[in-house]
Symmetry: C2
Subunit: 368 residues, 2 copies
């Protein structure tokens, strides 16, 4: 059902965990949750087309505001009819605010309460990003879900730095809300680093405002897993039950299972496609390196339990040969495999919540 603003529909809760099975209804269609969004940084999920993503069963993709603003530019995208039109993606699209890329990609930046001055990683030109500007760009991109511009401190940072970043993020929340596009759903972002009291304060602040969904930010920014998990555990229950909950930038299969158990609905991560380009394929026995000699003459696939339609005619030996010979088809076949692996995993997560078979799911994916 096409709806604006978006609506979160709760379908079922897990009898074993805090996981929830739901649906997000948007103007561009419905997303069955928990859901994983492949990352199309520049309006393209690397090596695959929108038809490949549809075939894999994905319903929503993520794109990066920072990259698209630099190339091809939000004004061009707006004149073109929006990002859906440009990349031929019919389902909902979520964009980040650009803030994270400013922090991670630009060589120089200066942050103040007003916004961030930074230099383009492409040509060094000086640019200025504010909540208003981020909302303007995301509105021009015409996406379904925009993210608030926040300050995401790098890991490690002191408690003081985490608090300061959280406070600035809170100051920016109303500015984001006030300037969001007319057809834009806006998600607030909870910050607070690894500190439970800060996360609580941030969750309460974000929850009190009229966002269409809430994200947990500042996770998966370099901290070890043993610090990431508690943050998700104590933050997720503090989020509104009637809105989608999105854990930004996560992650590995086990990270996703953990967060789903805590009640998270939405995920995005570059891992499946980035790993694929680095010769790593997900299997039910963990990631394998396609360059390993063991695959040199292997006629079957890397994992007999994970054979998917777009790659089923090929062998592990062929993929290894393609990588060895630096043939571009190698990255494509590995990307298709990993995307289908993630898509199936999310489908099995949704099924397990509905059917009350979470323990069986955990046993099945124990080594993934």
């Amino acid at each position: 059902m096409s709806e604006f603003p978006l609506r979160y529909e709760l379908l079922a809760t897990c009898p074993h965990t805090s996981a929830r099975r739901g649906r997000i209804h948007t103007a561009h269609g419905t997303v069955e949750t928990p859901a994983f969004m492949p990352v199309g940084t520049q309006g393209s999920v690397k090596t695959v087309g929108s038809e490949d993503l549809e075939a894999a069963g994905f319903q929503q993709v993520l794109a990066n505001t920072y990259h698209l603003s630099l190339r091809p530019g939000e004004d061009l995208v707006e004149r073109f009819g929006g990002l859906h039109e440009l990349m031929s993606w019919r389902g909902p699209i979520l964009t980040d605010s650009g803030g994270y890329q400013v922090m991670s990609l630009s060589k120089w930046r200066k942050i103040s309460d007003e916004g961030v001055v930074f230099k383009s990683h492409l040509d060094g030109s000086e640019l200025f990003l504010t909540p208003e500007k981020s909302m303007e760009i995301q509105s021009k991109l015409g996406v379904d879900i925009a993210m608030c511009l926040d300050e995401c401190p790098p890991y490690p940072c002191t408690r003081e730095e985490a608090a300061r970043a959280m406070e600035r993020t809170h100051k920016w929340l109303p500015r984001n809300l006030a300037s969001k596009g007319e057809k834009t759903n806006l998600f607030g972002i909870v910050q607070g680093g690894v500190h439970e009291d800060l996360r609580r304060e941030s969750a309460e602040t974000v929850s009190s405002m009229s966002f269409d969904g809430v994200a947990i930010g500042g996770v998966s920014v370099g901290e070890p897993t043993e610090m990431q998990y508690p943050v998700v555990e104590f933050t997720t229950p503090l989020l509104p039950k009637d809105k989608p909950r999105y854990l930004m930038g996560v992650g590995h299969p086990q990270d996703i299972f953990h967060a789903v158990k805590c009640g998270v609905d939405l995920f995005d991560c570059v891992l499946p496609t980035r790993m694929a380009r680095h010769h790593a394929l997900y299997t039910m026995q963990g990631r394998v390196n396609a360059m390993n000699l063991q695959w040199a003459e292997h006629k079957g696939w890397f994992d007999e339990d994970s054979i998917f339609p777009p790659t089923e005619r090929y062998s592990a030996a062929y993929v290894r040969h393609l990588f060895k010979a630096e043939e571009p088809l190698g990255a494509r076949l590995a990307s298709l495999h990993n995307l289908w692996f993630y898509s199936r995993m999310m489908q099995e997560i949704r099924d397990a919540i509905e059917k009350g078979t979470w323990p069986e799911l955990m046993a099945r994916y124990a080594h993934a």
Copy 2:
């Protein structure tokens, strides 16, 4: 119909030209001719899978003996069950002899009547290629059609050099024939440079021997079109009528039309995929550069008369954006377009010969 040795079946001749419409029956199926073979140098047509080639309507592909011998090696391919199995290609496969790549890619080589000593372009190791060795490699690859090792002199060369290369090629012909694989069809190659008398001598020599097909070599090696066309014109009529005729490494659409008119049946060329990686798309109005500013906001395709299924959902603006942003999907979409363009062109060539509508075909492709 599955046949070994291969059989050429003449279906129709063109009332306007010397073009002929036929079929090559092989153990891996039938090829409707005139046909174009996409080039899968290392066992992969760059950026596309075998399923993409099948969807585009191609029935036969070419692979390079030199590259496959270096990586993954003919012994591995043989143990694997052959190149068909490795690259999951069900139709016939033709390989070149490796001689051309030795000449064009290795930094050092020494040619004698015995064979060619050369250094690998990958690691500089010294290798020795003879007719016997080339046949052994191609046999281990398990291809349907192998090519004789020949000496293909670079352009420009003196008449003396052309004659010497031709004579060595002739000396090697019986050695190729004597050592070909049991299940291998073998094509002889006519050399002789741009000299009509040498080409005649070579055509007679090759025609007198029991090859399964005959190729015109030493064309499209750097000479200008006005020197290439006469060679095809005076050589093709000298070739046996009951065997497939293959013009190696050609070419541009107009070069293919010209050669088909002379009676050529088979073509291969890297152009459609190499051009695609260099942002050039074939259209009915000639090649266009996808990077050109004119496409920046173009919602349609580059050519409204050449919209093919795998790219029909996308716009010229998107392809330009992908190239500008160095997204790998750009090369894939452009490659798919060019391959479909060539495939349709060959289908229209076959139709025009059968229906006697060659002049109409020439008018339609006048600007392509």
